[in-house]
């Protein structure tokens, strides 16, 4: 009998792949209805915002304000000053590290 861990690995491989590929394979290059095109143009804004919010303020199942928030502020300042992607990411890490060192 297959070990439990490999049932999980192969099961997730199949399940996650179907979720990943459903859009590109089913929708393909078919023209979407207008409302769906409009929605999928806006969807990344909502998804990215949610990723920023949860990766900054979520800790498991609860919300938490910690040094990561200082990092996000530093990133926002760097973005506002039109810094490059790399500078933005490094600024966030340094600000968060400095906050933790001081705390």
């Amino acid at each position: 009998m297959m070990p439990r861990v490999w049932i999980v690995i192969l099961g997730l491989f199949a399940g996650v792949y179907l979720l990943k590929a459903a859009g590109p394979l089913v929708l393909g290059r078919r023209a979407l209805p207008g409302w769906l095109t409009a929605a999928s143009n806006l969807l990344p804004a909502a998804l990215l915002a949610a990723l920023v919010a949860t990766s900054t303020f979520a800790s498991g199942r609860h919300l938490q304000l910690d040094a990561r928030a200082v990092g996000l502020v530093a990133a926002a300042v760097a973005l506002w000053r039109k810094q490059s992607f790399v500078v933005v990411v490094i600024a966030a890490a340094l600000a968060t590290a400095a906050t933790r060192a001081l705390a």
């Binding site: 996650v16 393909g28 979407l32 990344p44 990215l48 609860h62 490059s84 933005v88 890490a93």
Partner: protein, 235 residues
């Protein structure tokens, strides 16, 4: 639709984004390798997760459930719930990938994750979006698996990640990609709505669901005149 080649200056900029976001996930790949080793598994299992499943949150959840003595069914459900958002990413990327043959799309879809959607959807025009998606997928896949291998052989990565603020690089990278959208008045409200909805759901919904639910912010937006929609989502 006419295919415009991606200008080399744009390609260089996109590669920079891909490399930055891939470096940012390395510590988490290491942490994943550590968690696999601590759960009592070895390199084959670690690489099985990182190369076949290849979806960070899903991998952590599944190994977490197994390490706690959970059943395979519980680990599968936790992992799949976390990756439901891949479905939304597929819808977002489908138009850009749709110009390619079916087999090509089937293979490329394996790289449908947070970061490839983020870099891909932030470019202008289908060829650049596809380039962003593919370059990020290739570089990140290599980094994620290499980091996983390193993690299996390292004892503790958590403290290193905390001390150097590396956990803050992920939100910063996503923030950099969402930033240009704040200039558009419609997108600005979608960004605020998406963040608020996601945070409101964190305490009550399983991990991963808040991100999908944020998508409803799009459905709740005020109707906009048709001519203003054409510029939406370009940057």
């Amino acid at each position: 639709m006419a295919e415009h080649p991606v200008p080399s200056a744009d390609r260089r900029r996109i590669r920079g984004q891909a490399v930055s976001i891939s470096l940012a996930i390395i510590p988490f790949g290491v942490a994943f390798g550590v968690s696999v080793a601590r759960a009592g598994y070895g390199l084959p299992e670690a690489l099985g997760f990182s190369s076949l499943v290849f979806t960070g949150g899903t991998q952590f959840a599944a190994v977490g459930v197994l390490a706690d003595g959970g059943t395979a069914t519980a680990a599968l459900i936790a992992g799949l719930l976390l990756s439901l958002r891949s479905l939304a990413y597929g819808v977002v990327m489908a138009p850009a990938l749709g110009d390619k043959p079916r087999l090509w799309r089937a293979l490329a879809s394996h790289w449908m994750i947070d970061e490839t959607m983020a870099v891909g959807s932030s470019q202008r025009g289908h060829p650049a979006q596809r380039y962003g998606y593919l370059v990020t997928g290739a570089i990140l896949f290599a980094c994620w698996n290499a980091a996983t291998v390193a993690g299996v052989y390292l004892s503790d990565a958590g403290e290193f990640v905390e001390r150097w603020g590396i956990d803050a690089t992920i939100p910063a990278a996503f923030a950099a990609l969402v930033w240009p959208r704040l200039l558009d008045p419609v997108q600005r409200w979608i960004v605020v709505g998406g963040a608020v909805i996601a945070l409101a759901l964190v305490p009550i919904a399983p991990a991963g669901l808040p991100i999908i639910a944020a998508g409803v912010a799009v459905a709740l937006r005020r109707p906009t005149p048709p001519n203003s929609r054409t510029t939406v989502g370009r940057r």
